[in-house]
C-alpha cells in the first residue's frame, strides 16, 4: 500500500520535473536562440536551430513532442558541438555515478563508526573535551565547500608532493582526490548525525536491559546499538548520494572529471541550452529515483517508520 502511494508520488514528481525542464527554455527572457548563437549569427541558422527545438509549434504540441523524445531517450542535439545529447549523457553519466557512489560509500564507512565512537565517548555528558572538539571540528569541516577541498588537495598532493594526478580520470588513483574532496564535508555532517543518533539509542531502555544482562560493551555497541542506527543511516545515505551527485558538479569542474557536472557548467556558460536542459533533467531524475529507492527499501526494512510518516 505504501509502495503504491509512494510510486504515485514519484510519478507526480516526474511530471513536474519534465514540465519544469521543458519550461526552462521558455522561461529564458528574450530569444534564447539568438542569445546562444550571438548577434552576428545568420538568420537562417537561428531559424534552423529554432525549428530543431520545435519552438515554432504551439506550446502543448511542443510539450507532447518533448515528452515523446525523453521517453525515447532523445534529448536533441548540442548547439555547439552537434553531438547528440543522449550520447553525451550516456558517455558521462557513468563517471559521475561512479564518483558520487564511491564518495557515498567512503563517507558512510568513515562517518558512521566515527560518529558512533564520539557518541559512546560523550554519553551522558562524559568527556566534555571530546564533545567540544568533535562538534566544533565537524562544524568547521562542513562549512568548507567541496571546491576548496578540491583545490587544497590538488595543491598538497599533486603539486607539492606529486603523489596523485591533479586532473582527469585515469586509473584508480585518479579517484582518490576527487572522492576525498567530495567526502570530507559529508563525513563531518554524517558523523554529527551518527553521534546524535547513537546518543539517542544509548539512552533507550533496551540498552539498559542489555547492560543489565552484563553483556560485554563491544557486544552492546555493535550488536544492539548499531543495527538500530541503520534505518537512519540508510535515510541519510540516500540524501547523501543525491547531495553528493550535486556536489560533484564543482568537484568535476576542478578535477576536469569527464562526468556530467563539468559538461553542465560548460553548457550553461556557452548557452548550449539543449545540453544544459537535458543534464539538469537527468540530475533531477536521479534524485527522484534515489529517493524512491531509499523509501521503498526503508519500508521493507522497517515497516514501522513508514506508518509513522504517512
Amino acid at each position: 500500500m505504501f509502495a503504491l502511494r509512494r510510486l504515485i508520488r514519484f510519478a507526480v514528481s516526474m511530471v513536474v520535473l519534465i514540465t519544469a525542464s521543458f519550461a526552462m527554455i521558455h522561461l529564458i527572457p528574450g530569444d534564447p536562440i539568438r542569445a546562444a548563437l550571438g548577434m552576428n549569427a545568420p538568420l537562417e541558422l537561428v531559424n534552423q536551430r529554432r525549428a530543431e527545438l520545435g519552438l515554432d509549434d504551439p506550446i502543448p504540441m511542443q510539450l507532447l513532442a518533448y515528452v515523446q523524445q525523453i521517453l525515447g531517450g532523445d534529448f536533441g542535439t548540442s548547439f555547439m558541438t552537434r553531438e547528440p545529447v543522449g550520447q553525451i549523457i550516456a558517455d558521462r553519466l557513468p563517471h559521475t555515478l561512479a564518483l558520487a557512489g564511491a564518495a557515498t560509500i567512503f563517507t558512510l564507512i568513515v562517518a558512521v563508526p566515527l560518529g558512533m565512537w564520539a557518541g559512546i565517548r560523550t554519553e551522558n555528558g562524559r568527556n566534555r573535551g571530546t564533545e567540544l572538539g568533535f562538534t566544533s571540528g565537524t562544524g568547521a569541516l562542513t562549512v568548507v565547500p567541496e571546491f576548496l577541498y578540491s583545490i587544497a588537495l590538488i595543491v598538497v598532493f599533486s603539486i607539492a608532493l606529486g603523489w596523485l594526478p591533479p586532473a582527469g580520470r585515469d586509473g584508480l588513483d585518479s579517484y582518490i582526490l576527487p572522492v576525498l574532496a567530495l567526502s570530507i564535508g559529508a563525513i563531518a555532517m554524517v558523523a554529527r548525525l551518527a553521534r546524535v543518533e547513537t546518543l539517542r539509542e544509548l539512552g533507550a531502555d533496551y540498552v539498559r536491559l542489555a547492560r543489565a544482562k552484563r553483556l560485554p560493551v563491544l557486544r552492546i555497541y555493535l550488536r544492539h546499538v548499531l543495527p538500530n542506527t541503520l534505518t537512519s543511516t540508510l535515510t541519510v545515505g540516500g540524501l547523501l548520494l543525491t547531495g553528493l551527485i550535486a556536489g560533484s558538479v564543482l568537484v568535476e569542474f576542478v578535477f576536469a572529471w569527464p562526468g556530467l557536472g563539468g559538461r553542465m557548467v560548460e553548457s550553461i556558460t556557452q548557452k548550449d541550452y539543449p545540453v544544459a536542459q537535458a543534464i539538469i533533467f537527468v540530475y533531477g531524475a536521479i534524485v527522484l529515483v534515489v529517493n524512491l529507492i531509499v523509501d521503498l527499501l526503508l519500508s521493507k526494512l522497517d515497516p514501522k517508520s513508514t506508518i509513522k510518516e504517512t
Binding site: I159, Y206, R214, P227, A246, G247, L250, I280
Partner: protein, 615 residues
Amino acid sequence: MRQLLRTPTGVIGLALVAATVILAIVGPPIWGEAAETIDAGAALQGASAEHLLGTDNLGRDILARVLAATRFSLLLAVLATVIGVGLGLLLGVLPSVLPRRAARLVTGAVNALVAFPALLLAMFTAVVSGLGARGAVLGIGMAIAPGFARLTQTLAASVAGADYVAAARLLGVPRWKIATRHVLPNIAEPVILNVTAVLGTGLVAMAGMSFLGLGVQPPEYDWGRLLNEGFGRIYLDPVVALGPAAAIILAGLGFNMVGEALAKSAARTSASAGPVSAAEVAPDDSAPDADAVLEVKDLTVTFPGGVTPVRGISLTLAPGEIVGLVGESGSGKSLSAFAIGGLVPYPGTVTSGRLRLNGTELTELGQAKRRKLLGTSMAMVFQDPMASLNPALTVGGQLAEVATVHQGAKRSAAWARAVDRLKHVRIPDPEKRARQHPHEFSGGMRQRAVIAIGLMGSPKLIIADEPTTALDVTVQRQILKLLREVSADTGAAALFISHDIAVVSELCHRVVVMYAGRIVEELPVSELAGGAAHPYTKALVASLPDLDTDKGEPLAAIPGTQPAPAEAGTGCAFAARCALADQRCGERPPLKEFGKAHTVACWHAGTVEIEVATR
C-alpha cells in the same frame, strides 16, 4: 550577545564576522584603487614583498583585490539570503493561512523541493535568468527558500497548537491576521537565529557559483571570481588561490559559528556540573549475614554538585523473599535498584559499606567476575516492556546471547535454552515466537520475555522496577503471578519497586518505604494496613481506596510535594507535609526498631497523637 561571548565558538565566530563586516565597509575605499591598478609589467607574478599574494594577468595586486572584494561578496550573500529567507517565510506561513487543500499543496511542494539538492535549483534558476551576479543571487535565493520554508512550517506548526492561537481562532480572527499577529512574532527568534547560519551558507554558495563562472562576470569580481582566475595558475603559483580561498572559508566559518553559538545559547539548560563529592562511608565491622541473598549497607548515590538522591540505605533480602520498595517518584527507589544492579548512569557515583550478593562482596570482585556473577544470578525487569527489548533483534536471540556470553554455550544449545525459558514463562508456541521481533509481541508477552531473559541463568535475585506500571490491569495480574511463581520455583529473592502500594501489599512479604532518598519505615506486609508507624506510610495506605471508601468523599491525598534531593535539609524530610511536625522534627529521626521485623524513622512513632492524627 553576552551569552555569545561565553563560548569559544561564539567568540571566534563573532570576531570573524566583525572582521568581515569591517572589511566590507573599509575595504573598497582603502584598497579599491590598488585592486584596479593595471600594471602590465607586473602581470602574473607570484608572491613577493611588494605583492604578498602575487598579481593577476593584468598585474593587479591580488591581496588588494581580495580585501576590496569583501563588500561585493558580502552584499551578494546578503541579497541571496534576503530573497531565500523572504520566499521561505512566505512559503512557510502560507499553509497556516490558505484553505486546507491549497495548504497541503504548498506543503507538498516544499517537501518535494527540500529533497532536491540546492545546487540543482540554483543552476536551474541561473540558466533561466542568465549568467551573471543577478542570476546567481536569484538561484541561491531559490535554493535557500525550501529549507527555510520547512523550518518556518515546523516552527509555525508548534505555535499554531498554542492556546492563544486556538483562542484567537475561536474568536474568529482572520487567518492572515493570526499568522502576522500571533504566529510570526512568536517564531521570530529561532528564525533570526537561523538567518545567521544561512548567510554563511549563502556566502559560500555564491562563491561556488562565481568560481564555476556562473556568477559574477568580469570586470566585476568577488571572492569566487578571484578564485576562478587564480585556479588556472595554481600549478605555478599556488599562493594566488590562497587569498580568496581563505577569505571564503573564514567568512563562511564566522557566520556559521555565530549561528551555532546562538542556537546553543538559546537551547542551553542550566545544568552545570560541580565537583563530585563521594559520600564517606564508615567502615563496617559487623559480621555479614551468611544466609542473605542480598545484603546492602549504607548505599549512597551521589551526583555532581552534591545532589544525593539515595542516602545511606540498608537492606537485607532472604532467599525466596519478595520485598516491596515503595515511595513517590523521586524518592530514590529506582536509583537504589540501579545502584544495587551496578547500572547507575554517569556521572553518578555509588558508595556502599556493604554490597553482597549471595555472600560475595560485589565491590571486591574483578570486572570480569562481577559481570559473570551478575549476568547469571541477578535478573532485572524494567518498567516499559515496549522499550526494554531491542527492536532490531529477534526475541530468542536476545535470550540466547545470555547463555553464549556468560556460560559459553553453543549457539544451538543457547537457542534451545531460550525456547525452553520462553515456554517456562508460558509464551505460547515458543519455537515460533523466539524467531519473531519484539514488535510482534504484545506488551504482556514482552514483559514475560524480559523475565525469561532473567531466567536464562540461575537467578538468586530479581530486581523488578515497576514492571507492571505500563501494562493493562488484567495483564498486570498475570505478570505479578508469574513473578511470584518464579520466585517460589527458583528460590530467588525479589526486590519489587513500585509506587503502587496496593500491588505491593498483594505480592510482597515485606515492605520498605522510601522518602526523599532514605528509608523511613520497614515492616511486614501483614502490618501495613493496621500497624504502620510512620505518618507517611499511614498516609500512603489511607490514600488507597477500598470497598468501604465513601464514594462521596474525595480520595485522600497527601498535601504538598516531596523535597528534591538537594533541598532536603537536616531534619525529617517529611516534616513539611506532616501534621505532627514539631521542634524535634528539625533533627532527623534515626531508623530504629519498632517491634518484630519492623523499623521506623519518626520521633512520633507509637505515640498516642499519631494514632489520633492519622485516623
